[in-house]
């Protein structure tokens, strides 16, 4: 036996969409309190009443599995039992990265200013792809489970910010590196007009690509925010339901 709030424990282990989790916890919490009142009216000591109520009302492993099956997201239901959550998430991440890679490769291979921007644009692509995988992982969780718990949200947004800063750092390094090369070349021989302006164009394009990566990072962050905000509101309501009851002993 250990001391824990039964509803908090249920909240921790129940894997259903956030909104359904709130509704289930509210319903079970209300039944739990009503049963406690009935037991108290019958003269059952409080600690024993809490244990009895928890044993009777909180779903066991099998009942939890039934609940999780009943409250699946449409996509998860459509995928069926054959594909596990991990596989489905991996497939969605792979799809996001594949689409992103195709776009980046097309932009870098296509004859034009992006291809002329130099080796640092490839380094930027190397930063953009894991960033895309991180974002795709978050989206996959949202689409598959319609839930992203607080620690996952913090991790997702933290990594996202990290990748955006990495993109900016690589682009700045690229601009500085190219500028250094140019200045070294020009210090040896006076710059020719056309060479100078072509070099300025290349450096500016690289800077623009770097800022483009940052802008894409910010936009993808903005795309996630409405859903994350909804989860935060739901979790705030869940906290209120869970924190209403005192600690009691429950079976492991």
């Amino acid at each position: 036996m250990r001391r824990e709030q039964p509803l908090r424990r249920l909240d921790r282990v129940l894997r259903v969409p956030a909104r359904s989790r709130l509704l289930l916890l509210e319903e079970i919490g209300a039944d739990y309190e009503a049963l406690l009142e009935r037991l108290a009216a019958r003269g059952v000591p409080e600690a024993r009443a809490r244990r009895l109520a928890a044993r009777r009302l909180l779903p066991g492993r099998a009942a939890r599995a039934d609940l999780e099956a009943a409250y699946r997201t449409p996509l998860r239901r459509w995928l069926g039992q054959g594909i596990t959550d991990a596989t489905a998430t991996a497939l969605l991440v792979a799809l996001t990265v594949a689409l992103g890679s195709a776009g980046i490769l097309a932009a870098l291979w296509w004859p034009g200013p992006l291809r002329d921007a130099g080796a640092f644009s490839w380094l930027l692509a190397a930063v953009a792809l894991p960033a895309l995988a991180n974002w795709g992982h978050g989206v996959a969780r949202i689409v598959l489970e319609d839930d992203l718990r607080a620690e996952r949200r913090v991790r997702l947004l933290g990594r996202h910010a990290g990748f955006a800063i990495a993109g900016l750092a690589v682009a700045s390094l690229g601009v500085a590196w190219e500028a250094l090369g140019l200045l070294t070349a020009f210090s040896a021989s006076a710059p020719h007009g056309e060479a100078l302006w072509s070099a300025v164009a290349r450096v500016s394009t690289l800077g623009a690509i770097g800022l483009g990566v940052v802008a894409a990072g910010l936009l993808s962050w903005l795309l996630l925010v409405p859903k994350l905000l909804q989860y935060e509101r739901t979790e705030a309501r869940i906290r209120r339901v869970v924190e209403r009851e005192p600690v009691t002993e429950v079976a492991r």
């Binding site: 200013p113 007009g193 056309e194 302006w197 072509s198 300025v200 164009a201 290349r202 500016s204 394009t205 800077g207 623009a208 800022l211 483009g212 940052v214 802008a215 910010l218 936009l219 962050w221 903005l222 925010v225 994350l228 905000l229 935060e232 509101r233 979790e235 705030a236 309501r237």
Partner: protein, 141 residues
């Protein structure tokens, strides 16, 4: 003057205008959410979105300037000899988008700070104990 700057900014004025409108909407939404008991934005994520729109505007402004410089440089490289006045005039034009983006970032930062200040003040006021109830006051026996 604003009309001239708007025209001078070129294609980048449209994403900047979208960012400005989104920034205004997001600020309005954050103010509206503040009127509730705090459940509308429990961790301040909605409020932070104001800053993200400002950062996006500044980034887009920077992209506009860099793309403008790249286009200008290519045009000069192709044209050969160009008068310095034309070069500086072109550079001035490219800078307008960065200035506009940075103005939006400054506005977003000020809005974020103001909302954060009001929110903190309200939270403090709500959490301050009011002391023992006076005899005869409403709600006391």
């Amino acid at each position: 003057m604003i009309g001239t700057i708007w025209t001078e900014m070129g294609f980048i004025r449209y994403p900047l205008a979208i960012a400005a409108v989104a920034l205004a909407l997001q600020t309005g939404l954050a103010i509206w959410r503040m009127r509730g008991p705090g459940e509308g934005d429990p961790a301040g994520l909605g409020r932070d979105t104001i800053l993200v729109w400002g950062l996006l505007a500044a980034t887009v402004g920077g992209i506009g300037t860099l793309v403008g410089i790249a286009q200008l440089s290519r045009a000069i490289a192709q044209a050969g000899a160009v008068s310095p006045g034309l070069v500086w005039g072109g550079l001035r034009l490219t800078m307008t988008s960065t200035v506009a983006g940075l103005i939006l970032l400054a506005i977003s930062a000020m809005a974020w700070l103001a909302i954060d200040y009001v929110r903190a003040r309200r939270t403090r006021t709500a959490g301050t104990p009011r002391g023992p109830a006076q005899p005869g006051a409403i709600g006391t026996k």
